[in-house]
Symmetry: D2
Subunit: 273 residues, 4 copies
């Protein structure tokens, strides 16, 4: 889940009123009815220029510190992630979001047969970035590949090249569908989102409609009045059936979502030169 | 889950061939498809007179040490439990099975409004036993009440008195259905099981049929040939539809299940005084 | 460690400039050179009326989340504690500070032979408070005894009665020196500290001198200029030899330390009526 | 600590009688007086051909499961390790011993400026071994380099080449003393030990004298009678002053220690190609 907008309490976003808007998606992830119990993490912008991250290996619903922290922190930009491991160990260094300088990154999906491809992918990571890699996941590898390819300058281009590399390498290994991913990344100001899979059958990703429009649609919804005009949410699975609230990110796309900005474009992987 | 029988590897019991017999119940508890992620525990009889316990607070499926240990341990009597907290903290001291001397105890269910009743229940625990209480759960409280009432001499009588006390106290607090429980307890030789709830609508509990009879029913089932004649399993929810394998413990009953022994009797709570 | 004063970053207090003032005591506790590795906790006043607590069971120096959180939080009142277990389990519910409503409490020391006395002490805890007890330590027991005796109205009187009870009970059990304690407690506005042991040989406790005076003593010390006039610290073991900085709390005393207030009085245990 | 000999209980080795022999070294590592609180691990040979490992991230003295397991396991070959992190995260995948097939490996020391060298070292690891790397430490990197260079065929030669590689690479990075290490490794039958550092000033490593000889020296020492003739221990810091018990592994050496075998030879790093 991603929130961008005015300063809001993390508690409101994860556990309280605002949560009712995003609840089906988030609830199914933070709540006891889920099995995504392989660690969790939040990242946010607050004091200082570097975003903070709070990550742990227990199921989010078992972490009393998360509730404590959530009540104390207000932020205009929150990343929240619940991990379902695809094989790599359950350890804090494998929890999302990942951070590099001012950047946060989180990923749902997988690189197919990652163990087999990992060595070759790691070789591509820029030598100056390599020492920052802390964990062992495909998600973090994708992040550092994108950073290597210029994420901080041109996010869509860098991700297109990272995806292209994985697909190219994967196919040389006889892997039919190397990439499955939804990604959110930010430098603290803009929010980029990506939805792509080699098989063109990607897990879902949604962004919320402009709040000003939503208020016209649902004048009675009090929670909408509590939200600033520039508010946006991005979620994986909005089950709540509030007509007009959620917009699916199209297959094979990237987007920029932010205050006064909403742009969705096709994503075409760039194979390595 | 309880196993009694010949010496068997814990790995076989929790993760391998034998597991296919009990898989629906146990798999749904150890597997990723469950949400019982609030800690787990196993207890077994091996070296020494005191049973060993291995308990931790992460979901069982995330604990690599459990897999390691399971391959190294053989036992004729295994208790395995996956915890779904009913409110008390997720900490090792709240994980089942609980141990007192040679005894193990595990419980599914709850004492209704336990926080409200706890103080009065604790007062009843024998002063010599009280210091052994390590955690904060209703399950451990029930164990120490039963011990106070003579569990080691007369398990059915002691549990009947413990239940009677909780019901009496609960009703004085206006609690309609104070007790909901299935319990398994053992001294390392006999296995006692209990199924009871104040509302006479108790969660399920099953014990397996005598293996000699099962082999006649299913001569083709190889796993049955690997099991000793005296083998018994007790599980909460056998979903596998192997006709004749599982016998439901009747409502409001206790039983002794063991080598050459299978006795089921009604359980009538004994009110205090 | 306790800090009261202007809003300051927890990072400054635990890891940065201000820390140089308190470093010997705190550093020896947060740093790798200590063995107090049985969990840690911080409590502070921020958003809302209830203080927040962040506690975990690993050594403080191994907790990356503590560093993250510290940089994001500013507070005028911080409690920080590193636990060295005296026998009770290493679990979050046993970590300090303990909280009740607006109150925080932390304790160094022990009730001698607590396992033996625990049951009788628990009986004294008010029935309405009893359900809030989460852990199993002597420190939390002392807190709830003090609350039972009116901590929120008259802290010195309530602690005197709690200590008197433990001493009376302990002596009836033939325990020569039942109580050993330094305690800090607060309602978010005033800070009470206590130093007492039955043998009149209590572990140390110190409070810092008024900052205005300190600045006159050490005009060159830059860190003193960063601190507000009302700043106070309380620490267990100030090893830094800055003449005039630290004042020992006398044996068998209580005190109130706060903005414009510094009062130290004798503490006389009140035996139960 | 390494033990080779007859089947012995891990409890005896880590916590009981036999422990008195090795206590100064091990005690200072398992005991509360140490600060090596960044995780621990044991590895042993038991059921099956693959050794078992039990590793966790808390301080060993805080892990109740370790005590439980220790009482249940008997082994003729035990590796025990307490980790003091040199910077990499405290997570199970970074705890020793590391395992590859039948092999165990543990290391004390460090590769200097490992973050800087890591990428180039990883490139050398054989592509078929690379996917097995689970953690992020220099110690595991050394293990996989040695495996790449033929550890399973010629341990001294493989370690000499691994060390030679690190030294060569380190010097090209201007690192004066790239390697500091004591290592123990085994295939379950023989035990190889290594002591080496680039600066020829390596942390200590000791092996115990043949038990038959020790019994002649100390006929009154009961614990020696409990040990089989082939018993050997390897420890880092034997503080106990039992004349003739411990033999220092010389600077820049490797050795094979085992039943009927004790061979110490010089170790000369082999630079790459």
């Amino acid at each position: 889940m991603v929130y961008v907008g005015d300063f809001l309490s993390v508690d409101d976003l994860l556990f309280r009123p605002v949560h009712s808007l995003i609840d089906q998606s988030l609830h199914s992830r933070l709540g006891v009815e889920t099995t995504n119990g392989d660690g969790f993490g939040i990242g946010w912008y607050g004091e200082g220029t570097i975003p903070a991250v709070f990550k742990d290996t227990d199921p989010a619903w078992n972490n009393p510190n998360l509730r404590e922290i959530a009540r104390q922190i207000r932020t205009p930009l929150l990343f929240a992630h619940i991990r379902a491991s695809t094989g790599t160990p359950v350890q804090r260094s494998n929890c999302h979001p990942f951070r590099h300088g001012r950047w946060l990154w989180m990923h749902n999906g997988a690189i197919a047969r990652f163990a087999e491809l990992k060595r070759d992918l790691m070789l591509v990571v820029d030598a100056s970035l390599y020492p920052e890699i802390e964990g062992s996941t495909d998600s973090e590898a994708l992040f550092y590949l994108a950073l290597t390819y210029g994420l901080t300058e041109d996010p869509p281009g860098a991700v297109a090249r990272a995806v292209g590399l994985v697909e190219d390498l994967g196919r040389r290994h006889g892997i039919p569908h190397p990439v499955q991913m939804t990604v959110a990344t930010t430098d603290g100001e803009s929010l980029w989102i990506f939805r792509y899979s080699s098989e063109r059958h990607t897990r879902s990703l949604y962004y919320s409609t402009d709040v000003v429009q939503l208020r016209e649609l649902y004048p009675e919804l009090e929670v909408l009045r509590e939200l600033g005009d520039a508010t946006r949410f991005v979620v994986s699975e909005p089950l709540r059936d509030l007509q007009g609230l959620w917009n699916e990110v199209p297959e094979s796309s990237w987007g920029v979502i932010g205050p006064g900005r909403q742009e969705i474009r096709p994503l075409s992987p760039l194979p390595p030169g």
